[in-house]
Point group: C2
Chain length 417, copies 2
């Protein structure tokens, strides 16, 4: 027990020490790391895939959605390498001046982006996360201690070996990106108590994983807990767009947090829309849990219970409700949304603006699929997580979001009077 605790502490101390070097490293060295990581990912696909096969073989009891998230392929590894290149091509956010003001007495005050420090990243299943974190963290001048799920152990080890090699070739301190070596469950709680060395915790995974980090962390935590996402189809919606967007938002990858779970339909378009929308969803195997007015249009509709309005299915299921007004839709979303992403389909610009003002979610969309809420889709060079936290930023957390505005003050003998 004692020796484990000291490993966690030693890793955190080593990360902070390495960070003090990294935060001042020039852009060229950081991009060298990224180009090497990209090259190694493309060159060592078979090693990584062999490790991934071992994880899949060793964990036969995983659910099908866990299995899907864990499985790597040449395509997904190519996408990872492409993502690393995209991050290399983005401008270095460190020292970027985001605001400059000159006071009446001539004092010039600039706001510049500085790296956060050491990030503890705790995640499950999807092995691409370790690459996203390493690439985004290094480019933004941050160190990271990563802890993946044990079901992805061999995959993460294989990918981490490439990260270490790329760090070495680029001449960067290898402690900048570390895997937490202590595999005990308690090691996570120990790590996130070390606020002298770790500056931010980012948990990505199920509610238990996120709650465990929040309960123990002494440093800030950026996270999202659930993706209870809505689409509201307004009285002024274009019916074709509404059907295409809803089908995409529900069925393009139902296991992801940005998939829509609940659809609200204005009564004015219900008669025209509902039969076609239900048929389109049904064609893709979606199970519909509907309000009485929805079920009146569809014999296979399962009557929705109170629980359905609050359920994140993460599956080919959806809840549907006909509402009498825009205000009813807003009230429903305010009550049930998890604050990740909610959208409206409307051709009425005033309704869109009213929806934007009323809905407090991290990402609010008009006439676009909720599934577009993603760092790469937003052009942020991937994402280190999606935040529904209330400070720092909300939504997909990209490269620049791994920095914090600080002040630089230029005087000429200025005093406080």
């Amino acid at each position: 027990m004692k020796i484990h605790m000291s490993n966690v502490l030693e890793q955190a101390q080593a990360a902070k020490k390495a960070w003090r070097i990294l935060r001042r490293v020039d852009t060229a060295s950081k991009n060298k790391f990224l180009s090497e990581l990209e090259r190694l990912l493309r060159a060592h696909m078979s090693d990584v895939l062999a490790a991934n096969t071992r994880d899949l073989t060793d964990n036969p009891a995983l659910s099908s959605s866990m299995r899907r998230r864990l499985t790597l392929s040449e395509e997904s590894l190519t996408a990872m390498a492409d993502g690393v290149r995209a991050i290399a091509e983005l401008p270095d956010p460190v020292s970027e001046v985001i605001d400059s003001r000159t006071r009446p007495d001539g004092l010039r005050i600039e706001r510049v982006r500085l790296p956060i420090g050491v990030i503890a990243a705790i995640f499950e299943s999807r092995p691409n996360i370790i690459i996203d974190i390493a690439a985004l963290a290094v480019k933004s001048g941050n160190a990271a201690i990563v802890r993946g799920g044990k079901e992805a152990m061999y995959s993460n080890d294989a990918l981490y070996a490439l990260i270490r090699e790329a760090l070495e070739i680029a001449g960067l301190p290898h402690d900048v990106i570390q895997q937490l070596t202590d595999r005990r469950h308690e090691a996570v709680a120990e790590l996130v108590k070390l606020d002298t060395y770790v500056d931010l915790a980012i948990p990505r995974g199920g509610e238990n994983l996120v709650r465990n980090v929040i309960d123990h962390a002494r440093m800030p935590v950026i996270h999202h807990m659930r993706g209870m996402c809505h689409l509201y189809i307004d009285a002024a919606a274009d019916i074709e767009k509404a059907i295409a967007i809803t089908v995409n938002a529900k069925t393009s990858n139902p296991a992801t947090c940005n998939s829509v779970e609940s659809i609200l339909i204005h009564t004015a378009v219900a008669d025209t829309l509902l039969p076609r929308l239900i048929a389109a969803l049904r064609e893709r195997g979606v199970e519909i849990h509907g309000c009485p007015r929805t079920c009146a249009k569809d014999t296979e509709c399962i009557p929705a219970t109170e629980e359905d309005w609050a359920t994140e299915y993460l599956d080919l299921k959806v809840s549907m409700k006909v509402v009498d007004s825009f205000e009813e839709a807003l009230a429903h979303i305010e009550r049930y949304s998890s604050g990740l992403t909610d959208g409206i389909i409307t051709d009425n610009a005033n309704s869109a603006e009213a929806f934007f003002r009323a809905i407090d979610s991290a990402c609010v969309l008009v006439n676009a699929s909720n599934r577009l809420v993603d760092g790469a889709q937003f052009g942020l060079g991937g994402e280190i997580g999606i935040s529904t936290s209330r400070i720092h930023m909300r939504g997909p957390m990209g490269l620049a979001d791994l920095t914090t505005p600080a002040y630089r003050v230029y005087g000429n003998g200025h005093l406080r009077m």
Copy 2:
């Protein structure tokens, strides 16, 4: 005990409910609150001063610096009213668009400022804080639950009565700004566990107060713990500016966190500068704890111990060290700074830029007094605190910093491919 716990919970719930209304209130109503608060502050000075006298009488054992922070006057009340007016005159940060990008496929992605939510503000002594918090929170669309020190109870109650009256006149829900009614010490820990209702904790005060909030908080905490601030006088410093800035940074209000505590002097200017600087500081009653080379210039100099380099005196005391190089100064600051504000005096622009790149503090200054690090001095309309936290922002936390960037996405039938 039970009833207290339920009070804290009820207050947090009421704050969240009131916030849901406030976050959508128009700028005019928020400014109406501010103009009424300003008017009431000017009209009720004698009531507030009587309450303040009672606090001072009831707490005869306070230290002189605590007493100074607690004492109100017509001047300080006028400054508070002026501060409220300054906040009224600033643009409303809510819904401000801070970034807009259009993706190759035409999807438009905006980043807009949204209110944080409910803020728990825990502070000591200085009764002006309750007014700063109320004014900044309401203007930025945030609710706040405030807990002042018991030594300022009557002053805070008198000021809070004005806040309540101004909320009422402006037609805003009165639960938007609440004082924590439970006066037990434990009530603070209970409040900051309620992360369902409270979104951010801002403790302002001594290390015990801040540590207590960090240890118990389930939501993010923005704070600064200490103000171990440095001034480095470079080889290329202008001697006159160096003396004026150092004297101002040390003596203009030594009890404040942005006062300088440690001065580093490049050996190249030590012979010219030290005798004059020591004389100027001595004239204002400053006790000097110096390195051997400093003490060689001054018979009254107290030899500095290792502890001195890490001590935030908050008093008319300063530590002084002659360094052989720019790099030695950087290493000293990296080792001992609390990360709040460190400055350089130099006429060499390259040295200033190198200092900016090397020093990781919330506010880094060139040729300006550390005492200028302040929300009002920076033109932010006052401050709700000063942050050395590693996310969200660093330095004086003003009006716009009480919002968080969120996404608005404008599509035209856009799908995830």
